[in-house]
């Protein structure tokens, strides 16, 4: 077999190979020669032992094998998920070892405790590029949504992985007993790894082989959970903790979401819309769930009257050193007035309900006339990029237990979206394409000052041509 001279740049202390070239390459490719000289003359930190210093170069004669041969042997079996793990578990993982050091909680250490194919992550770190391929949906008879697949760009390490998305209970509350059940399922069928509360607010079990999908889904269903929230349907909604832990909430977010599941569960599990619809429910305008930026449909708790002021509490706070003048000066509507003898006065008409005073001053609570505002069209991705949501209906009374008025409004809106939007068009893109006037006309909403993009600052109104012409004739 022919031999070729290989030049390896290694850590001087532990011998970890940083880069490797052949002598022919260095002679023929100026780019590589330049990089070799650069790395050789530079002080660098070894990713394996974290020692800093110059790299040493070693020249060895090696038998030349086939070009691009995989470093690790391909697994014999051809099934989907955790196969081949045993062979790769013993391969060295210097980059992940380095990430396991230190006092902080390490994801690398957690991954290594499970059946996750660690070489996929290790190779990604070494090559500085992910080794996973494209993703998609898996068709499981009888299950319309909830099962996904992520294929592998390195089939010699792993063939890919299926995973199921489990819809979380309201408020992301899991009892330890049901969590134990989910852990047993993950140990039995999957990698033994929980991806807790992914960005959509749900829980994913990673790495289920295709033949195990059906029994795994059956066991999850028997446990009282359900899978769903993939494809062009309602995704699992997120809501703030609401009355379970917070004192500022203006309506029962958990109850509303439970009612939402009761009414729209079919639309969560059976994809029928042009694109996904994400819903978020916030208890107050503080918007801890970031619904205004991220949700296609966003229900925000609002109040219409002035904030309630407990004068004694406020006076006590001011006596203890509370800086009431600064709070008053920062009120965006200039609605707050403080006089030491008379107490705090908040003007109802100037109040913008921004929650600043309620957050800062103990004794100022949101007003009593409470309800829900429906906002639509926020998103981060999509054709036209990030958008903030617009008000569809400024105020609806949120009355349990079935919240009929709120959900009728949502259903009417989704009908408009479903009938008029193009394939794979998010709500924000759809509104931008047809125009906000046309959209409000289709939705049939009552005109209100809150529908403007910037209420109280924008005094240009959208008039129909005929209306203006009539005015002129008079």
């Amino acid at each position: 077999m022919p031999t070729m001279e290989k030049i390896k740049l290694c850590c001087a202390k532990c011998g970890f190979v940083i880069e490797e070239y052949t002598a022919e390459e260095l002679a023929a490719v100026p780019r590589k020669a330049k990089r070799y000289q650069y790395l050789k003359n530079k002080s660098s930190i070894c990713p394996s032992c974290l020692a800093s210093g110059r790299l040493s170069d070693i020249r060895v004669n090696e038998e030349s094998g086939p070009v691009g041969a995989p470093r690790v042997a391909a697994p014999a079996s051809s099934t989907a998920a955790p196969v081949g793990h045993e062979e790769h578990a013993v391969s060295p993982t210097p980059m992940m070892d380095a990430m396991s050091q230190g006092r902080f909680p390490s994801h690398a250490a957690e991954l290594k405790k499970t059946k996750y194919p660690v070489q996929m992550y290790e190779q990604a770190l070494q090559k500085r590029r992910t080794q996973w391929g494209y993703g998609g949906y898996v068709s499981l008879p009888g299950v319309a949504s909830g099962v996904l697949v992520r294929s592998s760009a390195r089939p010699e390490i792993t063939k890919g992985s299926n995973f199921v998305r489990i819809m979380d209970p309201c408020g992301n509350f899991f009892s330890t007993a049901s969590m134990r059940g989910l852990c047993d399922i993950a140990d039995k069928y999957a990698y033994g790894l929980l991806h807790l509360l992914s960005t959509g607010g749900d829980l994913e079990l990673l790495g289920i082989p295709t033949e195990n999908l059906k029994p795994a889904v059956e066991e999850i269903t028997n446990l009282g959970f359900d899978i769903g929230s993939t494809g062009d349907d309602y995704r699992t909604s997120e809501e703030c903790i609401g009355p379970a832990k917070c004192d500022l909430t203006l309506y029962d977010t958990l109850g509303l979401r439970a009612a939402w599941y009761k009414r729209f569960l079919d639309d969560v599990q059976y994809p029928r819309f042009p694109h996904k619809i994400k819903c978020k429910f916030a208890g107050c305008p503080n918007d801890c769930v970031r619904g205004c930026q991220k949700a296609d449909i966003f229900l925000c708790g609002v109040y219409r009257d002035a904030p309630q002021v407990d004068q004694q509490k406020v006076a006590k706070w001011v006596e203890a050193g509370g800086d009431i003048t600064t709070v008053c000066s920062r009120c965006p509507g200039q609605a707050m007035q403080w006089e030491s003898g008379k107490g705090l006065r908040i003007d109802e008409d100037s109040c913008m309900h921004c929650m600043y005073c309620s957050n800062k001053v103990p004794g100022v609570r949101p007003g009593g006339d409470r309800g829900v505002a429906v906002l639509v069209g926020g998103k981060l991705r999509g054709k036209f990029g990030p958008m903030l949501s617009r008000v569809l209906v400024p105020f609806i009374k949120a009355e349990g237990p079935d919240y009929k008025e709120v959900f009728d409004c949502i259903e009417k809106f989704t009908e408009v979206y479903d009938a008029n939007a193009r394939k794979k068009e998010r709500v924000g893109d759809f509104i931008l394409r047809i125009g906000i006037d046309e959209f409000y006309k289709l939705s049939g909403v009552e005109p209100a000052p809150q529908l403007l993009a910037q209420p109280r600052t924008n005094f240009f109104c959208h008039w129909e041509v005929e209306e203006v012409m009539d005015e002129r004739k008079r």
């Binding site: 068709s139 008879p141 009888g142 319309a144 062009d232 994809p271 029928r272 479903d418 009938a419």
Partner: protein, 105 residues
């Protein structure tokens, strides 16, 4: 390209089992393909969906949107999944002799 034999005639199919030539579709083809999709017996409801899909394809040359399908046949999506366990795209379109749909059905 693989072929399958239904009622004595060979049919060319793609890797997912969709027949390639919609013009050669007839009712015996649907009956033959039904067992593959986990359907034991084709009822009148099945035929309503299959005939609608086939006629729509013959007229417009593409598969209809899900909304159109459920509106015209009167079945909601859950019922369609009960009739065709693999869903409207994989199950119903295959039985109706449509090529593999790329869109949302």
């Amino acid at each position: 390209m693989p072929t399958i034999t239904l009622s004595g005639e060979p049919f060319e199919v793609d890797e997912d089992g969709f027949i390639q030539d919609p013009a050669r579709w007839n009712e015996s083809v649907a009956k033959g393909l039904a067992s593959e999709e986990g359907i034991t017996e084709l009822t009148e409801d099945h035929w309503k969906v299959i005939r609608f899909l086939h006629n729509y394809y013959a007229q417009f040359g593409s598969a209809p949107m899900v909304r159109k399908l459920s509106k015209e046949t009167g079945f909601d999506l859950k019922t369609i999944y009960k009739l065709f366990p693999t869903g409207p795209a994989k199950g119903a379109c295959k039985l109706a002799g449509l090529p593999k749909p790329t869109g949302c059905v």
